[in-house]
């Protein structure tokens, strides 16, 4: 079975919610929709305090090249425009809407039937994806319409769909593949048309045999689409690792996937693309896995963007008394929240309630020169030295040692027997070297 060759680790799966179907929950009383929910510049607000909005209405416009539109996920009145604490730990501007009923924009098709015929042209598809605020739902939230506009000097030949979900605990993508398989396959076909490719490969890890079988059946009528089972390994969901696993090609250092002819999109993004193009529905909700060993009702909820994490935890049975950390995302790359009043945003794939015992870091000791971090790094880097360079302000050496190639997966820190905070220092080094490089280019 295929997988990527260099590095990788095997954290325990903890897929507690793999068999829990996607559940609708009642609408909350209030939502807080941040204006910055994608990579790139924050979007510009186009509505005012006091305005009545409908579900699916555009409330903020992306202005720069890399930015995305933001839509209201509920109907009601905008009561405040203020700052809320998001997963970054800092306060960012957001629109607070008091929910009144659930009135949708008339142009959105809410019927449940799956529309498989693709009526729009390639350019219309990309324009629709842009106007409906679709961003990468794998976690990076890169605006999808920008990813689909491959630069003229590169050619896209293969669309790879990321159904890997390698993070422990998270099962949102798994349930989407099982319960909305037809929509997903149609979304894949739409993406193929937008890119102008006739081949697509859906990568799924072999801990999800039901999803593999289901999508193989649904894609049987479309010869260009193949399902590729992959041997379980973290971080197979990283796009460079996925490309290597599926095609055997390696993305050169500093280059993009398009340089190998591949474009990678998440399964959730494929579903969002289907809804935008076939049902005219902007990105206003997503599946969020709320999980943790001490939760009474761990589930996969269909959540409106802007719902508070607090509300979701209550829907899952309430905050367990032994909770140490509330993590947005998975235990490997997720962010520990500083307050459960934070809203769910487009990039929130899961909420993990980790027990106090598991949350504490181990005591940091000296490096024992075991080189395990080097053997697990999926990008072939040397985390022990990168972390050392960053800690001792040797940024020139860090740049030469390819620190900018680090994808921040955390495999090094996960493996280190001395409990050293390798990823923390490498991230610090990356931020500083990134600034140095940007200032260099400016001159």
């Amino acid at each position: 079975m295929k997988t990527f060759k260099i590095g990788g680790v095997h954290p325990e799966e903890h897929k507690l919610t793999a068999n829990k179907p996607i559940t609708q929950i009642p609408l909350p009383a209030q939502v807080s929709i941040p204006l910055s929910q994608s990579l790139g510049a924050p979007s510009k607000l186009i509505v005012e305090k006091g305005a009545q909005v409908k579900t699916g209405q555009l409330i903020a416009q992306g202005e720069s090249f890399i930015s995305a539109n933001v839509h209201s996920s509920v109907s009601g009145k905008i009561v405040r425009i203020e700052e809320v604490t998001d997963a970054s730990g800092y306060r960012k501007p957001a629109v607070i809407i008091e929910v009144e009923g659930d009135e949708w924009e008339e142009s959105i098709d809410r019927s449940p039937n799956v529309v498989t015929e693709i009526a729009l042209t390639k350019d219309e598809i990309i324009a629709r994806i842009k106007s409906h605020g679709v961003v990468g739902l794998g976690g990076a939230t890169f605006p999808t319409h920008v990813k689909l506009m491959v630069p003229p000097d590169k050619k896209a030949e293969l669309l790879i769909i990321n159904g890997v979900e390698c993070e422990p605990y998270l099962t949102a993508d798994h349930r989407v593949m099982l319960e909305k398989g037809e929509e997903v396959v149609t979304g894949v076909r739409i993406l193929m048309k937008a890119l102008g490719v006739d081949k697509a490969a859906i990568g799924i890890e072999n801990n999800k045999p039901d999803a593999i079988a289901h999508l193989q059946k649904l894609s049987a009528n479309y010869p260009g689409i193949s399902v590729v089972p992959l041997k379980m390994k973290y971080p197979q969901g990283g796009e460079k690792q996925l490309i290597k696993a599926v095609t055997g090609k390696e993305v050169p250092s500093g280059k993009l996937p398009a340089d190998t002819g591949c474009v990678v999109n998440n399964i959730g993004t494929a579903l969002a693309v289907y809804e935008a193009v076939q049902k005219n529905k902007p990105l206003i909700d997503r599946v969020v896995t709320v999980t943790g060993e001490s939760l009474t009702n761990p589930s996969n909820f269909m959540v409106r963007i802007g719902t508070s994490v607090d509300y979701l935890i209550n829907q899952a049975g309430g905050l367990p008394t032994d909770t140490g950390k509330v993590i947005s995302g998975g235990p490997m790359m997720g962010k520990a929240l500083t307050t459960i009043d934070s809203p769910v945003v487009k990039g929130t794939s899961g909420i993990l309630l980790m027990s106090e015992k598991k949350s504490r870091r181990v005591v940091v000791q000296n490096c024992i020169r075991c080189a395990r971090c080097i053997s697990v790094c999926p990008m072939g880097l040397q985390p022990v030295f990168l972390a050392q360079y960053s800690e001792h302000q040797m940024f020139e050496e860090a740049e030469k040692a390819n620190i900018m190639d680090c994808m921040e997966c955390g495999s090094c820190q996960f493996t280190c027997p001395a409990g050293r905070p390798l990823l923390d220092y490498v991230r610090l080094g990356k931020n500083t070297v990134g600034t140095i490089i940007r200032n260099r280019v400016k001159k």
């Binding site: 970054s88 730990g89 800092y90 500083t338 870091r361 800690e391 905070p421 923390d424 220092y425």
Partner: protein
């Protein structure tokens, strides 16, 4: 004598002479001609190589001074005015007298004033903690207490008061080299004049949030009310972005602003204790000095 030994001695001696000649010519060809004054000036400098003057070590500063024949823009914070006077005398130049300065930590969000709402359990670095969240207190401008400033000090002049979770500057060790100023990711530490008799008055806060938000996380923030600006008889205080700033060049140490500040954000250092009736809302507003 045995001819083998004789030949061995001769060969080695010739090799030695040959190497010496080569080395002599190479030494002459690649000789670095340096103004002898550079070495004299380097000798006058303290030799700490701290970088506080802005140059890569004492020798580099000496080189620049001798090359430009000008010391008006240079200052050795470790040697201070005495060293600059000596250098000026050695080169036949005029030395400028400058005020001695000291690092001042403009945050008083101790564990009592700004209690922790969450626990940061990550890598012990302020820069890393700063990139992850506003911090344990919730104030996005406040001190994080992990000690990046302490790590960079070459003069042992700053230490972490772990009970308060704030750094404390040791007055007679700090040479105002500026290393801690650069190290702090939130620019909480500033260089200010040591002041007459070591006395200074400063706003111990850099929070730019509106008054309500600032008070949520701390008891002694600057809320930008502007009372100090109105009170100051010397126009030394300016208000910008909900934050007051005392210009230490204009401040005459009258301490009227300290009395009038409603939150106790303005601190006075090294003054004799005041004879005043005790205030029931006494906050922990006086900075500890060592």
């Amino acid at each position: 004598m045995n001819t083998t030994i004789l030949y061995a001695i001769l060969t080695l001696s010739l090799l030695g002479v040959f190497s010496a000649v080569i080395l002599y010519f190479i030494a002459q060809k690649f000789k670095v001609i340096e103004d002898p004054r550079v070495d004299i000036i380097t000798g006058l400098l303290p030799g700490a190589n701290c970088g506080g003057c802005g140059y890569a070590g004492c020798h580099a500063l000496a080189e620049t001074i001798v090359k430009t024949e000008d010391i008006s823009n240079h200052k050795c914070p470790v040697g201070g005015n005495d060293t600059m006077k000596q250098i000026a005398k050695a080169l036949g130049l005029e030395a400028k007298e400058t005020e001695p300065q000291i690092a001042v930590v403009r945050c008083n969000g101790s564990r009592v004033n700004a209690p922790s709402k969450i626990l940061y359990n990550g890598a012990a670095s302020c820069t890393i903690a700063h990139s992850l969240s506003a911090g344990e207190t919730g104030c996005p401008y406040g001190c994080l207490g992990e000690g990046d400033c302490v790590k960079v000090c070459l003069f042992d002049a700053i230490y972490m008061d772990h009970e308060a979770a704030l750094p404390r500057v040791i007055e007679d060790k700090c040479v105002a080299c500026g290393a801690c100023v650069t190290a702090c990711p939130r620019s909480i530490i500033q260089l200010r004049n040591k002041g007459v008799k070591g006395r200074r008055v400063y706003v111990s806060c850099i929070n730019k949030e509106k008054r309500g938000t600032a008070r949520k996380n701390c008891n002694v923030p600057c809320i930008g009310c502007g009372k100090c600006v109105k009170e100051c008889p010397f126009d030394a205080i300016t208000l910008q972005d909900n934050l007051a700033y005392i210009d230490f060049n204009k401040c005459k140490l009258c301490r009227k602003c300290v009395t009038v500040c409603p939150t106790g954000a303005i601190l006075e250092v090294n003054f004799p204790p005041r004879k005043e009736k005790s205030d029931s809302t006494e906050t922990i507003a006086s900075a500890e000095t060592v």
